[in-house]
Subunit: 676 residues, 2 copies
């Protein structure tokens, strides 16, 4: 038997939320990649279900239908209720928190936190990846069996030092978890619980081809869950421990007269608190703590759905609680563990998601952190694979630098939620939640100074609230040339490019406009004897091919006419650095984009696309949209008259902030990444 | 050769915007229907392109992805610019109108007017119909050849008085307008100009089966365009005339330094004005008037894209204007015509859309009116076909009563826009637009008193701005039981049901709450000796089967367990009348839905679904959404303390308005439609 051997740039093991985010970047940047998962089926129901606004911002930036589908199906978290035992053996509502009121004010985002099943999120991600790339598909029922790493090649980023043996599992080795009819449940999904798009995808799935093959890869990503095969093989230990506490969890359509069944909250009982989490499609998720030192507690295997139901009912004192429809249920033990490393020393093999951090599902951050791991990693691997950076190793090293501390904070946060016995105290829960709030909301991730985070070469005071290293704060702005409305998430599309955001300030003032013009001269100056342009904004060519989604459907048979005709009539991306201007001049209606320096309008395509009308924007109030309120500069802590210069990384983190004159600092930022 | 004969309830001839809207209702209500179109391909590019907010409200009510897809692709109309000849042979901007500013204030809608190609709208409608019904698909390349109508059966609505001969056209009879590559153009679409979903649909289309068949139908709808086959066969004349004026129109990606190319507006020239209409995907539509008494003008056949390009360039004085990419172009003569009738005397054969009203494309109302024709007609036909009403003939007669006058006003509106020579004067255009604004925005359609519009039995003053006969004014409200946010378009789903909207007023006031309780007693009273419930809210059973979209994917093989498990976990619709409460009590957080009368919570399903948490809503400000601002009662002209009773028809027009005590008037409204 000959074993098939092939070469790819990137192999992703595990097609959960973390692996799919890495795969998105591969699709978007046209990197030769594969993504495998040993399960025959994707997750459909249950599992993780909380989506934080920062993750939604990323989704919106990934384009296509992604975020709109999330919003259409998700369930909004509005307030949090706490119920406690009251008189006459009846629970009473003790506390209502408008959890989100302050959040909206202090941690603004275009999006609100939602509950929606991990299964739906994975569906939307898979669709986005397939539409974008046209070819990259998750290979299911495929297991990574073993791998070798030739460390003598580790510094040669053109080489393929990684060899992985893949095996397609036989039908007897994979669980077929789809039932044509039934309750659904712990390991089984009923077809009736599948959305139409899931059914369609299931029916059109091609059969797996059995066999073994060897894949050579330049980079390897293990997003293969808490029991990570790759982590074990790399020999990385996990730190932390399990707690002596068992929980049941179920997604049910409740039949109850408990009035707050559609609000998230706690019901305190004698031993711990039950947690209510309403979600999409008329379901409520119930987390049920088991009493320590009971028979169930000692023999986890004896816990079934009936045990969970009965235990839950003891909490709803004075109210009825029952259900017939249960889409999913499970039992788990609380524990917190974190991997000692999330990439190998050469930085060519990576771990992401649950392979790095394992904890309880209560804070709705596990899946979000996992996806943000993958999102942080993917573009770095893509740039390295495309040989677009000065030092791939240095860029890739920022992954662990930035994300491993986040994993540790996450696990500490989760640990702080629990008593030593593994129980949960609602009051303490609130306090801990408060302490970690900015972290939880993705506003305080504390990425350290590194190749792509330069805190000292500019001037943080120019944009006080756009903290270098943290995620950009998004706002809605108005197109100067077209009056269309744009969330900045859409301006910062996840296409691998860095953005220079010129917050040009009040250009109605002559002096300020002069500052802007001067800046433009400095960043567009260049043109060497050999014809190579050294202007900052066009110096580094965009290294990626356009993904299928943005290519013409048919090639021109004559090779003559309109090579650029595509459905969207978008011009090809030409530079690694995109310059966007957001000014605050309120007389914008009397100034056309042709009154701005050429540089700010971007390159002109005399053949097909003419000028680009989406380069210059205004921070002003639109009468068409209450969210476009002219408050962006305040949100960013930028002086409305003086403006600022901000560099936004491909993952929408702020890489550098400075005054409009701080061009040298900004240029050095890019030179250190891309070279001269 | 035997000719295949079959029976269906409804045959729709023509699958443009009007026909598709009728088809939507057939899909949603599970009526046995077919929809044919003689073109081999749907419209992909060009043609109509304006979408008014009222139509978007309808789309949102139709559910699924429809409105979200529109918003994702559409181009917003923000302001209107007028350019006139200036000094030095250069045009100058003379006028900027924030067309929409006042509109937002006085004609509120959740949605803003957009430009988006008719082709995309048809795609979204077709997808919605197919997903909803699972079976109803447009049959393309099929022609209605002849028909007979047996008028002796006209009063028997169980009978099939209509016989239509259908023939599938051969490949030589239909134009294949898809080119694999090229410019696109007047009759040809390039595959590169197709969206991914269109390409996919095109590739998976099944081949047509040639042949002739006879279809017997109970109802027939002709939505077959300006040259309507059905209108000709019914012998209905059109009234009106053509004007001596020719226009060219093209959708291009402009290459220009004209600064307002992304704003709608006019450029005045020596003979008439050119119109600029920016649209989605970086294109701008240009309407170019031809000069009277020129060679082109006398021989329309000589006008090609180059002629239009050159003529357009003469308007952009002082600026360059050119293009290489043109997706579509055409030449048309201005004219206004309206059919003398839009249904036959028995009311079983109908005309809709361009078959009734023909006019210039400039006001962006043709397609909107066509779709609203179909939307108005479809649910009435569905109710008749399902034998759910007392007098099908009387219900169906309201179609022509309501829509033919709209067609006439539309044509008058269009006529008023033009000079006698068929030219257009920008100043006059604005004035005319102003005069017809409320009509154009769908706020003043002047439907007359009829079976389903009762202006005298209630009390208009209870909801001053919800004018009986006009379309409901939508607002965003908060779910009392779940704090989710709902546009009323989503509460009034287009499922064929009438809604009683109880605007319960300030229920925090004891006296007001007593009024509400008393009302509940009156509309829920009943229960006759024979067990038939005569309570108003449950008296008339929902006559339609659940469409595929809402059915379980798989039948229970044992017939025992969970007949009701579906993906959405929605309970089956049970009554033709749905009761929704929207109160204005600001202490809502301290009152649970169980503090309301049973009737307002809707029926309880003890088996699977429990209580319905989407029956009671609050008009209050949400901190999560700037559009949910607690201003709905004001928008509706309803006294916040006293409330009102409003009946909303299946098409979201207001059928009846009264005080909370006016139950008899309201009951009579329903009795006249559905009987006792």
């Amino acid at each position: 038997m000959t074993i098939n051997e092939s070469r790819i740039d990137v192999l992703i093991v595990g097609a959960g939320p973390a692996g799919l985010m890495v795969a998105y970047w591969m699709a978007r940047c046209g990197i030769k990649a594969r993504i495998i998962d040993k399960q025959k089926h994707k997750v459909y129901n249950g599992h993780a279900d909380g989506l934080r606004s920062r993750t939604e911002e990323i989704f919106d930036s990934m384009g296509g239908d992604l975020q709109r589908r999330i919003e259409a199906e998700g369930y909004i978290f509005e307030s949090f209720r706490t119920w406690v035992p009251g008189e006459h053996g009846r629970i009473v509502c003790a506390h209502r928190t408008n959890l989100m009121t302050d959040q909206i004010a202090t941690l603004p985002s275009p999006f609100v936190s939602l509950t929606i099943s991990q299964g739906r999120i994975e569906r939307f991600l898979v669709d986005n990846i397939e539409e974008t790339s046209g070819t990259l598909k998750v290979e299911r029922g495929v297991s990574a069996e073993s791998f070798t790493y030739d460390s003598s090649l580790q510094d040669d980023h053109d080489a393929y030092p990684i060899k992985v043996t893949l095996r397609t599992l036989s039908d007897t080795e994979v669980n077929d978890t789809i039932a044509s009819y039934g309750y659904g449940g712990r390991y089984i999904v009923s077809k009736n619980n599948l959305a139409q798009d899931e059914l369609k995808a299931l029916e059109s799935a091609s059969p797996r081809k059995l066999g073994t093959e060897i894949v050579e890869a330049r980079y390897l990503v293990g997003a293969d869950g808490a029991h990570s095969w790759l982590r074990h093989n790399l020999g990385y230990k996990t730190q932390g421990s399990g707690l002596d506490s068992l929980w049941g969890v179920m997604d049910v359509v409740p039949i109850t007269d408990f009035p707050d069944i559609r609000y998230p909250g706690f019901i305190e009982g004698e031993h711990g608190a039950l947690m209510v989490l309403p979600r999409e499609r008329n379901m409520t998720r119930i987390y049920v703590p088991f009493k320590p030192n009971t028979p169930e507690h000692h023999d986890r295997a004896t816990i079934d759905l009936e045990t969970i139901r009965c235990r839950a009912q003891t909490f709803f004192k004075g109210y009825t609680f029952n259900f017939k429809i249960c889409e999913w249920w499970s039992v788990y033990q609380v524990g917190q563990r974190v991997s000692e490393r999330s990439q190998n020393p050469s930085g060519r093999i990576f771990l992401a998601g649950d392979a790095v951090h394992m904890h309880s599902p209560k804070i709705g951050l596990g899946m979000n952190t996992s996806m943000q791991d993958g999102y942080n990693l993917g573009w770095k691997v893509a740039l390295a694979a495309a040989r677009a950076v000065r030092s791939p190793a240095e860029l890739l090293a920022t992954y662990e630098m930035e994300r491993l501390p986040v994993a540790k904070t996450l696990v500490n946060f989760d640990r702080a939620l629990w008593t030593n016995e593994g129980a949960m105290d609602p009051g303490e829960f609130q306090k801990t939640h408060e302490a970690f709030r900015e972290f939880a909301d993705g506003r305080k991730l504390m990425y350290p100074e590194n190749l792509i985070i330069s805190k000292t070469t500019g001037s943080q005071s120019a944009a006080r609230k756009l903290i270098v290293g943290e995620s950009f704060i998004h706002a809605k702005v108005l197109g100067h040339a077209d009056s269309q409305l744009y969330w900045t998430t859409r301006l910062f599309q996840s296409d691998g490019r860095f953005r220079i955001v010129l917050m040009a300030g009040d250009i109605d003032a002559e002096e300020q406009f002069e500052r802007v013009k001067h800046l433009c001269k400095r960043i567009s100056a260049g043109g060497q004897a050999d014809g190579r342009c050294n202007a900052l904004v066009s110096r580094y060519p965009y290294p990626f091919e356009a993904p299928t989604r943005f290519q013409p459907a048919c090639a021109d048979p004559t090779g003559q006419q309109h090579p650029a005709i595509t459905f969207d009539h978008e011009r090809p991306l030409d530079s690694m650095i995109s310059l966007l201007t957001i000014h605050s001049g309120q007389q914008y209606a009397s100034r056309s984009i042709f009154d701005f320096p050429d540089t700010l309008r971007g390159p002109f395509d005399p053949d097909y696309h003419g000028w680009d009308y989406r380069r210059i924007f205004v921070d002003t109030a639109s009468h068409l949209d209450r969210y476009c309120d002219g408050g962006a500069y305040d949100l960013w802590g930028v002086d409305r008259s003086r403006g600022a210069l901000v560099v936004v990384r491909p993952d929408m983190h702020v890489g550098w902030v400075g005054e409009i004159e701080d061009v040298d600092g900004m240029e050095n930022y890019f030179v250190s990444i891309f070279g001269h």
